[in-house]
Symmetry: C2
Subunit: 229 residues, 2 copies
Protein backbone atom coordinates (compact mmCIF):
# COMPACT_ATOMS: atom_id res chain seq x y z
CA UNK A 1 0.00 0.00 0.00
CA UNK A 2 1.83 3.06 -1.26
CA UNK A 3 0.98 6.45 0.15
CA UNK A 4 0.02 8.27 -2.99
CA UNK A 5 -1.28 11.80 -2.97
CA UNK A 6 -4.03 12.96 -5.30
CA UNK A 7 -1.52 14.85 -7.36
CA UNK A 8 0.73 11.85 -7.71
CA UNK A 9 -1.89 9.91 -9.67
CA UNK A 10 -0.30 10.68 -12.97
CA UNK A 11 3.32 11.61 -13.35
CA UNK A 12 3.08 12.91 -16.91
CA UNK A 13 6.17 14.97 -17.41
CA UNK A 14 9.71 14.37 -16.26
CA UNK A 15 9.31 17.39 -14.01
CA UNK A 16 6.50 15.58 -12.21
CA UNK A 17 8.58 12.45 -11.77
CA UNK A 18 11.51 14.24 -10.20
CA UNK A 19 9.11 16.25 -8.04
CA UNK A 20 7.64 13.12 -6.50
CA UNK A 21 11.04 11.55 -5.97
CA UNK A 22 12.46 14.58 -4.21
CA UNK A 23 9.25 15.04 -2.25
CA UNK A 24 9.49 11.52 -0.94
CA UNK A 25 13.18 11.87 -0.21
CA UNK A 26 12.57 14.99 1.87
CA UNK A 27 9.56 13.57 3.71
CA UNK A 28 11.43 10.40 4.57
CA UNK A 29 14.56 12.26 5.55
CA UNK A 30 16.81 10.93 2.81
CA UNK A 31 17.45 14.55 2.02
CA UNK A 32 17.97 15.79 5.54
CA UNK A 33 15.96 18.61 7.04
CA UNK A 34 17.76 21.94 7.08
CA UNK A 35 20.34 20.95 4.47
CA UNK A 36 21.15 23.17 1.54
CA UNK A 37 19.91 22.12 -1.88
CA UNK A 38 22.27 22.10 -4.84
CA UNK A 39 20.52 22.44 -8.17
CA UNK A 40 23.35 20.94 -10.23
CA UNK A 41 23.73 18.18 -7.67
CA UNK A 42 20.07 17.16 -7.65
CA UNK A 43 19.90 17.46 -11.42
CA UNK A 44 22.71 14.92 -11.78
CA UNK A 45 21.28 12.69 -9.06
CA UNK A 46 17.88 12.41 -10.75
CA UNK A 47 19.14 12.52 -14.33
CA UNK A 48 17.34 15.62 -15.50
CA UNK A 49 18.31 19.04 -16.67
CA UNK A 50 17.97 22.03 -14.39
CA UNK A 51 14.82 23.24 -16.13
CA UNK A 52 12.43 20.54 -14.88
CA UNK A 53 14.29 20.44 -11.60
CA UNK A 54 13.65 24.10 -10.96
CA UNK A 55 9.99 23.62 -11.77
CA UNK A 56 9.92 20.84 -9.21
CA UNK A 57 11.62 23.08 -6.64
CA UNK A 58 8.97 25.73 -7.21
CA UNK A 59 6.30 23.20 -6.42
CA UNK A 60 8.21 21.95 -3.38
CA UNK A 61 8.25 25.48 -2.07
CA UNK A 62 4.48 25.57 -2.37
CA UNK A 63 4.23 22.56 0.00
CA UNK A 64 6.56 24.32 2.43
CA UNK A 65 9.09 21.51 2.09
CA UNK A 66 11.84 23.87 0.99
CA UNK A 67 12.51 27.57 1.39
CA UNK A 68 14.03 29.60 -1.40
CA UNK A 69 15.89 32.86 -1.31
CA UNK A 70 16.30 34.68 -4.64
CA UNK A 71 19.84 34.47 -6.00
CA UNK A 72 20.91 32.50 -2.96
CA UNK A 73 19.43 29.04 -3.23
CA UNK A 74 17.09 26.70 -1.45
CA UNK A 75 17.15 24.84 1.86
CA UNK A 76 15.06 21.98 3.15
CA UNK A 77 12.81 23.21 5.94
CA UNK A 78 13.78 22.58 9.53
CA UNK A 79 11.22 21.01 11.82
CA UNK A 80 10.43 22.91 14.99
CA UNK A 81 7.82 22.85 17.73
CA UNK A 82 6.58 26.28 16.63
CA UNK A 83 6.17 25.13 13.05
CA UNK A 84 4.31 22.04 14.18
CA UNK A 85 1.88 24.05 16.28
CA UNK A 86 1.26 26.50 13.46
CA UNK A 87 0.65 23.64 11.05
CA UNK A 88 -1.81 21.86 13.30
CA UNK A 89 -3.67 25.03 14.17
CA UNK A 90 -4.43 25.30 10.50
CA UNK A 91 -5.31 21.64 10.15
CA UNK A 92 -7.84 21.88 12.98
CA UNK A 93 -9.67 24.69 11.23
CA UNK A 94 -9.45 23.34 7.73
CA UNK A 95 -10.27 19.73 8.45
CA UNK A 96 -13.02 20.82 10.79
CA UNK A 97 -14.50 22.75 7.89
CA UNK A 98 -13.94 19.74 5.65
CA UNK A 99 -16.02 17.62 8.00
CA UNK A 100 -18.82 20.13 8.12
CA UNK A 101 -18.93 20.33 4.34
CA UNK A 102 -18.55 16.58 3.92
CA UNK A 103 -21.59 16.07 6.15
CA UNK A 104 -23.52 18.06 3.55
CA UNK A 105 -21.80 17.01 0.36
CA UNK A 106 -20.67 13.40 0.62
CA UNK A 107 -23.06 10.98 -1.07
CA UNK A 108 -24.09 7.94 0.95
CA UNK A 109 -22.06 5.70 -1.35
CA UNK A 110 -18.82 7.46 -0.44
CA UNK A 111 -19.65 7.28 3.23
CA UNK A 112 -20.22 3.54 2.97
CA UNK A 113 -16.93 3.10 1.16
CA UNK A 114 -15.16 5.01 3.86
CA UNK A 115 -16.75 2.82 6.53
CA UNK A 116 -15.64 -0.36 4.77
CA UNK A 117 -12.17 1.08 4.40
CA UNK A 118 -11.98 1.77 8.12
CA UNK A 119 -12.88 -1.84 8.93
CA UNK A 120 -10.36 -3.14 6.44
CA UNK A 121 -7.62 -0.99 7.89
CA UNK A 122 -8.49 -2.14 11.37
CA UNK A 123 -8.01 -5.76 10.36
CA UNK A 124 -4.74 -5.32 8.53
CA UNK A 125 -3.68 -3.26 11.49
CA UNK A 126 -4.25 -6.16 13.85
CA UNK A 127 -2.26 -8.47 11.62
CA UNK A 128 0.66 -6.15 11.13
CA UNK A 129 1.02 -5.08 14.72
CA UNK A 130 3.42 -2.22 15.13
CA UNK A 131 4.17 -1.45 11.51
CA UNK A 132 3.73 2.27 11.65
CA UNK A 133 3.82 2.62 7.89
CA UNK A 134 0.47 0.92 7.46
CA UNK A 135 -1.02 2.88 10.30
CA UNK A 136 0.01 6.09 8.67
CA UNK A 137 -1.29 5.06 5.27
CA UNK A 138 -4.65 4.17 6.74
CA UNK A 139 -4.89 7.37 8.69
CA UNK A 140 -3.99 9.50 5.70
CA UNK A 141 -6.47 7.63 3.54
CA UNK A 142 -9.22 8.45 6.02
CA UNK A 143 -8.40 12.13 6.20
CA UNK A 144 -7.93 12.43 2.45
CA UNK A 145 -11.36 11.01 1.73
CA UNK A 146 -13.13 13.39 4.05
CA UNK A 147 -11.29 16.34 2.60
CA UNK A 148 -12.19 15.24 -0.91
CA UNK A 149 -15.75 14.75 0.32
CA UNK A 150 -15.98 18.45 1.11
CA UNK A 151 -16.01 19.15 -2.64
CA UNK A 152 -14.29 22.47 -2.00
CA UNK A 153 -11.48 22.72 -4.53
CA UNK A 154 -9.46 25.27 -2.60
CA UNK A 155 -9.71 23.32 0.61
CA UNK A 156 -8.70 20.13 -1.19
CA UNK A 157 -5.76 21.79 -2.84
CA UNK A 158 -4.46 23.36 0.36
CA UNK A 159 -4.64 20.24 2.46
CA UNK A 160 -3.95 17.38 0.06
CA UNK A 161 -1.57 19.11 -2.30
CA UNK A 162 0.22 21.43 0.08
CA UNK A 163 0.09 20.91 3.81
CA UNK A 164 -0.12 17.14 3.97
CA UNK A 165 3.42 16.57 2.78
CA UNK A 166 4.64 18.57 5.73
CA UNK A 167 2.34 16.67 8.07
CA UNK A 168 3.82 13.42 6.82
CA UNK A 169 7.32 14.80 7.19
CA UNK A 170 6.72 15.61 10.85
CA UNK A 171 5.22 12.19 11.44
CA UNK A 172 7.79 10.15 9.58
CA UNK A 173 10.80 11.96 10.94
CA UNK A 174 9.72 11.54 14.52
CA UNK A 175 8.52 7.97 14.09
CA UNK A 176 4.83 8.36 14.71
CA UNK A 177 3.19 5.16 15.85
CA UNK A 178 2.93 4.35 19.51
CA UNK A 179 -0.08 3.88 21.74
CA UNK A 180 -2.40 6.40 20.09
CA UNK A 181 -3.25 4.09 17.23
CA UNK A 182 -6.22 2.21 18.67
CA UNK A 183 -7.75 5.40 20.00
CA UNK A 184 -7.43 7.01 16.59
CA UNK A 185 -9.55 4.27 15.11
CA UNK A 186 -12.34 4.92 17.58
CA UNK A 187 -12.17 8.63 16.86
CA UNK A 188 -12.33 7.98 13.14
CA UNK A 189 -15.41 5.85 13.69
CA UNK A 190 -17.11 8.58 15.67
CA UNK A 191 -16.36 11.15 12.98
CA UNK A 192 -17.70 9.06 10.14
CA UNK A 193 -20.82 8.35 12.18
CA UNK A 194 -21.44 12.04 12.64
CA UNK A 195 -21.00 12.61 8.91
CA UNK A 196 -23.37 9.74 8.14
CA UNK A 197 -25.94 11.36 10.43
CA UNK A 198 -25.42 14.58 8.50
CA UNK A 199 -24.40 16.24 11.74
CA UNK A 200 -21.76 18.60 10.42
CA UNK A 201 -21.39 20.51 13.63
CA UNK A 202 -20.51 17.38 15.61
CA UNK A 203 -18.20 16.06 12.91
CA UNK A 204 -16.41 19.40 12.96
CA UNK A 205 -15.96 19.28 16.71
CA UNK A 206 -14.78 15.68 16.75
CA UNK A 207 -12.26 16.29 14.01
CA UNK A 208 -10.82 19.27 15.84
CA UNK A 209 -10.36 17.18 18.95
CA UNK A 210 -8.90 14.35 16.95
CA UNK A 211 -6.28 16.54 15.35
CA UNK A 212 -5.62 18.32 18.61
CA UNK A 213 -4.86 14.98 20.28
CA UNK A 214 -2.64 14.02 17.38
CA UNK A 215 -0.76 17.28 17.72
CA UNK A 216 -0.15 16.81 21.41
CA UNK A 217 1.15 13.34 20.68
CA UNK A 218 3.78 14.62 18.27
CA UNK A 219 4.56 17.56 20.50
CA UNK A 220 5.55 15.25 23.32
CA UNK A 221 7.97 13.49 20.99
CA UNK A 222 9.49 16.77 19.90
CA UNK A 223 9.85 17.62 23.57
CA UNK A 224 11.64 14.42 24.58
CA UNK A 225 13.90 14.81 21.57
CA UNK A 226 14.77 18.25 22.80
CA UNK A 227 15.55 17.03 26.30
CA UNK A 228 17.93 14.31 25.17
CA UNK A 229 20.05 16.74 23.12
Amino acid sequence: MQIVSPLERSAITSSDRVLFEIQRAIVEGNIVAGSKISEPGLARRFNVSRAPLREALARLERCHLIERIPNAGARVVTLSPEGLVALYQLREELEGLACRLAAEQMPDSEIDELRQLLDKHLETQRVREGESYYQEAGDLDFHYRIILGSKNQYLINMLCDQLYYLVRMYRVQMGMNGPRVSRAFDEHKAIINAIANRDGELADLLMRRHIGASRKNIESRLQTEKETS
Copy 2:
Protein backbone atom coordinates in the same frame (compact mmCIF):
# COMPACT_ATOMS: atom_id res chain seq x y z
CA MET B 1 -1.83 54.22 -2.53
CA GLN B 2 -0.89 51.14 -4.47
CA ILE B 3 -2.27 47.79 -3.45
CA VAL B 4 0.93 45.90 -2.88
CA SER B 5 1.02 42.41 -1.48
CA PRO B 6 3.63 41.29 1.03
CA LEU B 7 5.35 39.29 -1.68
CA GLU B 8 5.52 42.24 -4.00
CA ARG B 9 7.79 44.19 -1.70
CA SER B 10 10.91 43.34 -3.63
CA ALA B 11 10.87 42.32 -7.25
CA ILE B 12 14.38 40.98 -7.37
CA THR B 13 14.52 38.83 -10.44
CA SER B 14 12.99 39.39 -13.84
CA SER B 15 10.73 36.43 -13.13
CA ASP B 16 9.32 38.33 -10.17
CA ARG B 17 8.70 41.41 -12.25
CA VAL B 18 6.77 39.61 -14.95
CA LEU B 19 4.86 37.69 -12.27
CA PHE B 20 3.56 40.87 -10.70
CA GLU B 21 2.66 42.39 -14.06
CA ILE B 22 0.70 39.36 -15.21
CA GLN B 23 -0.89 39.01 -11.78
CA ARG B 24 -2.15 42.54 -11.94
CA ALA B 25 -3.31 42.14 -15.53
CA ILE B 26 -5.35 39.08 -14.62
CA VAL B 27 -6.81 40.57 -11.46
CA GLU B 28 -7.83 43.74 -13.27
CA GLY B 29 -9.20 41.84 -16.24
CA ASN B 30 -6.70 43.08 -18.82
CA ILE B 31 -6.05 39.43 -19.45
CA VAL B 32 -9.63 38.25 -19.57
CA ALA B 33 -10.94 35.48 -17.35
CA GLY B 34 -11.23 32.14 -19.07
CA SER B 35 -8.91 33.03 -21.92
CA LYS B 36 -6.12 30.73 -23.00
CA ILE B 37 -2.58 31.72 -22.19
CA SER B 38 0.09 31.64 -24.86
CA GLU B 39 3.59 31.27 -23.50
CA PRO B 40 5.35 32.67 -26.58
CA GLY B 41 2.82 35.47 -26.73
CA LEU B 42 3.22 36.56 -23.12
CA ALA B 43 6.98 36.18 -23.38
CA ARG B 44 7.08 38.67 -26.25
CA ARG B 45 4.58 40.98 -24.58
CA PHE B 46 6.65 41.28 -21.39
CA ASN B 47 10.05 41.08 -23.04
CA VAL B 48 11.37 38.01 -21.33
CA SER B 49 12.34 34.53 -22.34
CA ARG B 50 10.05 31.61 -21.67
CA ALA B 51 12.12 30.41 -18.71
CA PRO B 52 11.21 33.19 -16.25
CA LEU B 53 7.74 33.33 -17.75
CA ARG B 54 7.10 29.68 -16.94
CA GLU B 55 8.33 30.23 -13.41
CA ALA B 56 5.84 33.07 -13.12
CA LEU B 57 3.07 30.85 -14.46
CA ALA B 58 3.88 28.23 -11.84
CA ARG B 59 3.44 30.84 -9.14
CA LEU B 60 0.24 32.11 -10.72
CA GLU B 61 -1.13 28.59 -10.55
CA ARG B 62 -0.41 28.59 -6.84
CA CYS B 63 -2.69 31.63 -6.38
CA HIS B 64 -5.38 29.87 -8.40
CA LEU B 65 -5.30 32.63 -11.00
CA ILE B 66 -4.54 30.20 -13.81
CA GLU B 67 -5.08 26.50 -14.36
CA ARG B 68 -2.52 24.39 -16.13
CA ILE B 69 -2.91 21.09 -17.89
CA PRO B 70 0.30 19.19 -18.63
CA ASN B 71 1.26 19.32 -22.28
CA ALA B 72 -1.84 21.32 -23.06
CA GLY B 73 -1.32 24.81 -21.70
CA ALA B 74 -2.78 27.23 -19.22
CA ARG B 75 -6.03 29.16 -18.97
CA VAL B 76 -7.02 32.08 -16.80
CA VAL B 77 -9.57 30.94 -14.24
CA THR B 78 -13.24 31.62 -14.82
CA LEU B 79 -15.21 33.28 -12.06
CA SER B 80 -18.31 31.45 -10.90
CA PRO B 81 -20.74 31.61 -7.99
CA GLU B 82 -19.58 28.18 -6.83
CA GLY B 83 -15.95 29.27 -6.85
CA LEU B 84 -16.81 32.40 -4.92
CA VAL B 85 -18.67 30.47 -2.25
CA ALA B 86 -15.83 27.96 -1.90
CA LEU B 87 -13.33 30.80 -1.60
CA TYR B 88 -15.27 32.66 1.04
CA GLN B 89 -16.00 29.54 3.06
CA LEU B 90 -12.25 29.21 3.41
CA ARG B 91 -11.76 32.87 4.20
CA GLU B 92 -14.29 32.73 7.00
CA GLU B 93 -12.42 29.91 8.70
CA LEU B 94 -8.92 31.20 8.06
CA GLU B 95 -9.49 34.83 8.90
CA GLY B 96 -11.53 33.83 11.91
CA LEU B 97 -8.53 31.88 13.09
CA ALA B 98 -6.31 34.83 12.24
CA CYS B 99 -8.38 37.03 14.53
CA ARG B 100 -8.23 34.57 17.38
CA LEU B 101 -4.47 34.30 17.06
CA ALA B 102 -4.04 38.03 16.57
CA ALA B 103 -5.91 38.62 19.82
CA GLU B 104 -3.15 36.63 21.51
CA GLN B 105 -0.15 37.59 19.43
CA MET B 106 -0.48 41.19 18.30
CA PRO B 107 1.49 43.62 20.43
CA ASP B 108 -0.36 46.71 21.61
CA SER B 109 1.73 48.88 19.33
CA GLU B 110 0.46 47.07 16.23
CA ILE B 111 -3.10 47.33 17.44
CA ASP B 112 -2.72 51.07 17.91
CA GLU B 113 -1.26 51.44 14.45
CA LEU B 114 -4.18 49.55 12.99
CA ARG B 115 -6.61 51.81 14.83
CA GLN B 116 -4.95 54.93 13.48
CA LEU B 117 -4.98 53.44 10.02
CA LEU B 118 -8.70 52.83 10.23
CA ASP B 119 -9.34 56.44 11.15
CA LYS B 120 -7.12 57.68 8.38
CA HIS B 121 -8.89 55.51 5.84
CA LEU B 122 -12.24 56.73 7.06
CA GLU B 123 -11.24 60.33 6.42
CA THR B 124 -9.78 59.82 2.97
CA GLN B 125 -12.88 57.80 2.27
CA ARG B 126 -15.13 60.75 3.07
CA VAL B 127 -13.11 62.99 0.80
CA ARG B 128 -12.99 60.62 -2.13
CA GLU B 129 -16.59 59.60 -2.07
CA GLY B 130 -17.31 56.69 -4.36
CA GLU B 131 -13.81 55.88 -5.47
CA SER B 132 -13.90 52.15 -4.97
CA TYR B 133 -10.17 51.77 -5.44
CA TYR B 134 -9.37 53.49 -2.19
CA GLN B 135 -12.07 51.59 -0.40
CA GLU B 136 -10.60 48.33 -1.54
CA ALA B 137 -7.07 49.32 -0.65
CA GLY B 138 -8.16 50.30 2.83
CA ASP B 139 -10.12 47.11 3.35
CA LEU B 140 -7.27 44.92 2.15
CA ASP B 141 -4.85 46.78 4.36
CA PHE B 142 -7.01 46.05 7.38
CA HIS B 143 -7.34 42.35 6.66
CA TYR B 144 -3.67 41.99 5.79
CA ARG B 145 -2.56 43.45 9.10
CA ILE B 146 -4.70 41.14 11.15
CA ILE B 147 -3.51 38.14 9.21
CA LEU B 148 0.10 39.19 9.71
CA GLY B 149 -0.73 39.74 13.37
CA SER B 150 -1.55 36.07 13.76
CA LYS B 151 2.18 35.32 13.40
CA ASN B 152 1.30 31.98 11.81
CA GLN B 153 3.50 31.64 8.74
CA TYR B 154 1.33 29.07 6.99
CA LEU B 155 -1.80 31.10 7.54
CA ILE B 156 -0.08 34.23 6.30
CA ASN B 157 1.21 32.49 3.22
CA MET B 158 -2.13 30.96 2.31
CA LEU B 159 -4.15 34.12 2.66
CA CYS B 160 -1.80 36.92 1.65
CA ASP B 161 0.27 35.11 -0.94
CA GLN B 162 -2.32 32.80 -2.43
CA LEU B 163 -6.02 33.40 -1.88
CA TYR B 164 -6.09 37.18 -1.74
CA TYR B 165 -5.27 37.67 -5.39
CA LEU B 166 -8.39 35.71 -6.25
CA VAL B 167 -10.41 37.70 -3.74
CA ARG B 168 -9.26 40.87 -5.40
CA MET B 169 -10.07 39.45 -8.83
CA TYR B 170 -13.64 38.73 -7.80
CA ARG B 171 -14.00 42.18 -6.31
CA VAL B 172 -12.42 44.16 -9.11
CA GLN B 173 -14.13 42.31 -11.93
CA MET B 174 -17.56 42.82 -10.47
CA GLY B 175 -16.95 46.38 -9.39
CA MET B 176 -17.14 46.08 -5.63
CA ASN B 177 -18.03 49.29 -3.92
CA GLY B 178 -21.65 50.17 -3.27
CA PRO B 179 -23.54 50.74 -0.08
CA ARG B 180 -21.68 48.26 2.10
CA VAL B 181 -18.74 50.54 2.60
CA SER B 182 -19.80 52.47 5.66
CA ARG B 183 -21.01 49.34 7.38
CA ALA B 184 -17.69 47.65 6.72
CA PHE B 185 -15.96 50.41 8.63
CA ASP B 186 -18.11 49.81 11.68
CA GLU B 187 -17.48 46.11 11.49
CA HIS B 188 -13.75 46.71 11.24
CA LYS B 189 -13.92 48.89 14.31
CA ALA B 190 -15.74 46.22 16.28
CA ILE B 191 -13.19 43.58 15.28
CA ILE B 192 -10.20 45.65 16.26
CA ASN B 193 -11.89 46.46 19.58
CA ALA B 194 -12.33 42.76 20.30
CA ILE B 195 -8.68 42.13 19.49
CA ALA B 196 -7.62 45.02 21.70
CA ASN B 197 -9.66 43.48 24.52
CA ARG B 198 -7.83 40.21 23.86
CA ASP B 199 -11.20 38.59 23.23
CA GLY B 200 -10.19 36.18 20.51
CA GLU B 201 -13.46 34.33 20.52
CA LEU B 202 -15.47 37.47 19.79
CA ALA B 203 -13.01 38.71 17.19
CA ASP B 204 -13.30 35.33 15.49
CA LEU B 205 -17.09 35.52 15.43
CA LEU B 206 -17.20 39.09 14.19
CA MET B 207 -14.74 38.40 11.40
CA ARG B 208 -16.76 35.41 10.22
CA ARG B 209 -19.86 37.55 10.05
CA HIS B 210 -17.99 40.36 8.36
CA ILE B 211 -16.73 38.07 5.62
CA GLY B 212 -20.07 36.34 5.33
CA ALA B 213 -21.75 39.70 4.70
CA SER B 214 -19.09 40.58 2.16
CA ARG B 215 -19.68 37.28 0.41
CA LYS B 216 -23.43 37.83 0.17
CA ASN B 217 -22.77 41.25 -1.24
CA ILE B 218 -20.67 39.89 -4.10
CA GLU B 219 -23.03 36.99 -4.59
CA SER B 220 -25.91 39.33 -5.30
CA ARG B 221 -23.82 41.03 -7.99
CA LEU B 222 -22.96 37.71 -9.56
CA GLN B 223 -26.65 36.91 -9.52
CA THR B 224 -27.82 40.10 -11.22
CA GLU B 225 -25.09 39.65 -13.79
CA LYS B 226 -26.44 36.19 -14.48
CA GLU B 227 -29.98 37.45 -14.89
CA THR B 228 -29.11 40.11 -17.42
CA SER B 229 -27.32 37.67 -19.70
